[in-house]
């Protein structure tokens, strides 16, 4: 037990003394996580520059423009007179979208002919394009239903029946778990947790092999009495505790400061976070015991962990990816963590809904730690031979 405690304390001392550890484990998280939250501080995109091309200049077009101005999404910054100007301004990024009211629109409506209102967006910028479409579609649908309603009421149809004809199938929609599509609440926890995976793997990939760099492998051998499993257990506990400090930073500093996160699910987050940490430490230890060369270990860790965010299905669902990418996604702990995180944290469901994903994270530990111990034993034998020669 004393040996284990000594290894843990020794590892903590290395973490605070060696830049390869303290920069990644202590400095990067505080800067990176704060920065992620800061990027999305405005929470959603508002007042997107928008142009009006009003060839009708009628009471109806003015009413529709008024309704467009009332929402927070659009900011009418320009008035244009032709399609060429409109397209050029969108292309140059001066505006994100524009609406065209054609000549005689009001007359067409009163003459019971369909009036075509055209919406242009710059869909090369997908987020603003979707937001603009939503804002404009709401107004146009409302305007169209209003026109029908007025016509029917003028014909003497009672308002309730007129409403049923104007909008027969009324879709009542509920956006669960993020009702207002707040980007900060959606993206920041995901970016931070994927950052945690990178931080742990990129630091733990040096947990064992860096002992050669610092000429301390022999000392570690003596301290552990040649037990590779004791070394890996001790270093794992040390790194797990440091990861818990980062948990405190995330759950009790960053999230409350920026008003994000689901406070009621913090306990479940802690359990999943600890499992992710253990799985990532397992990956790091495996790489560290596989490659004696620290730069090669670094490149391997970087190549393995950097695609985690896009492959996890956080922004683009995994089922829409080709099958080989879906398989690749499963070999990263973050993918299983994310599926569980959605359920237990974002949706605040009981942990039994995440049994499958928890099982996969445990499987990472079951496979990687013994493999790392076997591989590291070989490195350790070299250390013992060096020690005996001396």
């Amino acid at each position: 037990m004393n040996r284990l405690g000594d290894i843990i304390i020794r590892e903590w001392k290395r973490i605070v003394a060696l830049p390869v550890f303290y920069i990644v484990l202590l400095i990067v998280p505080s800067i990176l996580f704060f920065f992620y939250a800061l990027i999305y501080q405005k929470q959603d995109a508002k007042e997107l520059p928008f142009a009006i091309w009003d060839e009708d200049n009628s009471a109806i077009s003015r009413q529709l423009i008024y309704l467009l101005e009332q929402g927070e999404t659009l900011k009418i910054t320009e008035h244009v007179n032709n399609e060429a100007d409109l397209k050029r301004w969108i292309q140059n990024g001066e505006i994100m979208g524009a609406i065209h009211f054609p000549v005689n629109m009001q007359n067409d409506i009163y003459s019971k002919r369909v009036a075509n209102v055209t919406l242009y967006t710059n869909a090369a910028s997908l987020v603003p394009a979707k937001l603009i479409y939503k804002a404009v579609a709401e107004v146009v649908i409302m305007g169209s239903a209003g026109v029908t309603l007025q016509k029917l009421q003028k014909e003497g149809i009672p308002s309730s029946s007129a409403m049923a004809i104007a909008n027969p199938v009324n879709l009542i929609s509920y956006q669960l778990y993020n009702a207002d599509y707040n980007y900060q609440k959606y993206l920041v926890p995901g970016l931070i947790t994927v950052g945690i995976q990178m931080i742990i793997i990129i630091s733990c990939m040096l947990a064992l092999n860096y002992e050669w760099k610092t000429n301390s492998m022999d000392e570690l051998y003596q301290l552990s009495n040649g037990s590779a499993s004791l070394v890996i257990l001790g270093k794992t506990i040390a790194h797990l505790v440091v990861a818990w400090f980062n948990f405190v930073l995330i759950a009790f500093v960053i999230f409350p400061y920026f008003g994000i996160g689901v406070a009621a699910a913090t306990g479940k987050f802690f359990i999943l976070y600890s499992l992710l940490t253990l799985a990532c430490i397992g990956v790091g230890m495996f790489i560290s015991s596989l490659f004696k060369d620290v730069m090669l270990a670094g490149d391997t860790a970087l190549f393995y962990t950097s695609p985690a965010f896009v492959f996890s299905g956080f922004t683009f669902p995994r089922w829409a990816m080709p099958w080989y990418d879906q398989y690749y996604a499963t070999i990263m702990p973050y993918t299983s963590f994310l599926d569980a995180f959605f359920k237990a944290y974002y949706m605040n469901l009981p942990l039994h809904y995440s049994e499958n994903e928890i099982g996969k994270l445990v499987l990472f530990c079951i496979v990687l730690f013994p493999t790392a111990i076997i591989l590291f034993s070989k490195q350790f034998k070299t250390a013992s031979q060096v020690s005996e020669r001396e």
Partner: protein
């Protein structure tokens, strides 16, 4: 130096190509299809079946029928469907008696893309079915012909024209930027590592023995040629494999890529010179990719970033570059339409070149 250093070899010669194909393949289908939507149909009439059938016909939505709301919610919790639609009993009856029919839809907005796609598609289908109901009403109750009734069904029609990404697909939006980011990041990581290695191995004096400018641009020339070749490869082979349009002039794009790579070279060397260890440089640079991409205005509107972040973003060559690049590649624009961001990029080139010169000169002085 590169052939002897396997880390640089991996970062500069293997990673760009591997990442480009690897990341690119994720979005090869461009958009998501068959998002699972639970359906609880308590009405079970021809109208509710018509609604369900229309929704299921959409390529985006895949309907999964459940007997009751409890089952549908459970499947949502399990992650097996992304939302559910409830059609209450008497929906058709209500419509026939000229009462509005309410259908209820709940989506898991914790996942943005599937939930917003579901909402958009189901909303459009409800409007279409509603228009069909109005058409029948006008035909039957007012005795209008189909042609005249059609004109009254939707007095104002919204004609949506998304420019430069006609299908508003996620893949077509993200891939051009992603490929440019792969080029940038592998160059920044590789060259900064190489420069950090000069400090680590105390070779600054031998590196700068033919003069500081020669040292910077001698090293930089290799990267300029290598990444010029990669750019050509990405814009031709990868764009073609991923069916990405290139609407602008190829020569103008080549000039833009040249200025961009030229700006990245001194920037990477400035970053590398901040580190005494190649390993620490690699570790720190590993965390730069996502923050850089998120603040360039590519995935999130630049104006919606806090002022401090906008300031940082303006110091990155990626920000003006992506603005011009997207305009040329996707919008079919020309360099002369983008003089402000182009000037911004040139100013950054001058700034980082001077900063790099100053940093190398300082270290050169120290090493002597």
């Amino acid at each position: 130096m590169v052939p002897k250093d396997h880390s640089l070899l991996l970062t500069l010669l293997i990673a760009p190509l591997l990442y480009a194909f690897f990341y690119g393949s994720i979005y090869i289908n461009k958009e998501e299809e068959n998002v699972k939507l639970g359906l609880v149909d308590d009405d079970n009439t021809s109208l509710s079946r018509l609604l369900a059938q229309n929704i299921n016909n959409s390529p985006v939505v895949d309907i999964v029928q459940f007997a009751n709301l409890g089952d549908a919610k459970e499947q949502l919790y399990q992650g097996n469907c992304q939302g559910y639609l409830y059609i209450p009993a008497k929906t058709e009856n209500n419509l026939l008696s000229l009462k509005q029919a309410n259908v209820v839809m709940a989506v898991n907005a914790a996942r943005f893309l599937p939930s917003s796609d579901l909402l958009l598609n189901v909303q459009q289908i409800c409007l279409t079915v509603g228009a069909g109901v109005r058409l029948q009403y006008f035909e039957k109750s007012k005795g209008l012909t189909t042609e005249i009734a059609m004109q009254q069904v939707m007095p104002i029609n919204l004609d949506y024209r998304p420019l430069f990404n006609e299908r508003t697909s996620y893949g077509a939006f993200l891939l051009p930027g992603l490929l440019a980011l792969i080029l940038q990041q592998t160059l920044l990581i590789g060259l900064s590592e190489s420069t950090a290695a000069e400090r680590q191995h105390s070779t600054i004096a031998s590196w700068t023995k033919f003069g500081i400018s020669n040292a910077i641009w001698g090293k930089g020339l290799f990267y300029l040629l290598l990444y010029g070749a990669y750019s050509f490869f990405f814009l031709n082979i990868n764009f073609s494999l991923l069916n990405l349009p290139m609407r602008g002039n190829g020569w103008e794009l080549a000039l833009l890529m040249f200025i961009f790579i030229l700006t990245l070279i001194p920037l990477a060397q400035v970053i590398g010179l901040c580190f005494k260890s190649q390993l620490i440089c690699l570790q720190v640079m590993a965390f730069s990719t996502y923050p850089i991409f998120l603040i360039t205005g590519y995935v999130w509107p630049f104006e919606s970033l806090p002022l401090l972040v906008q300031g940082i973003s303006n110091l990155l060559p990626t920000t003006p570059f992506l603005k011009v690049y997207v305009n040329i590649v996707q919008g079919g624009g020309a360099l002369q339409d983008n003089l402000t961001p182009l000037l911004h990029l040139i100013v950054l080139f001058a700034f980082y070149s001077l900063l790099c010169f100053w940093s190398v000169r300082k270290l050169h002085g120290q090493s002597n």
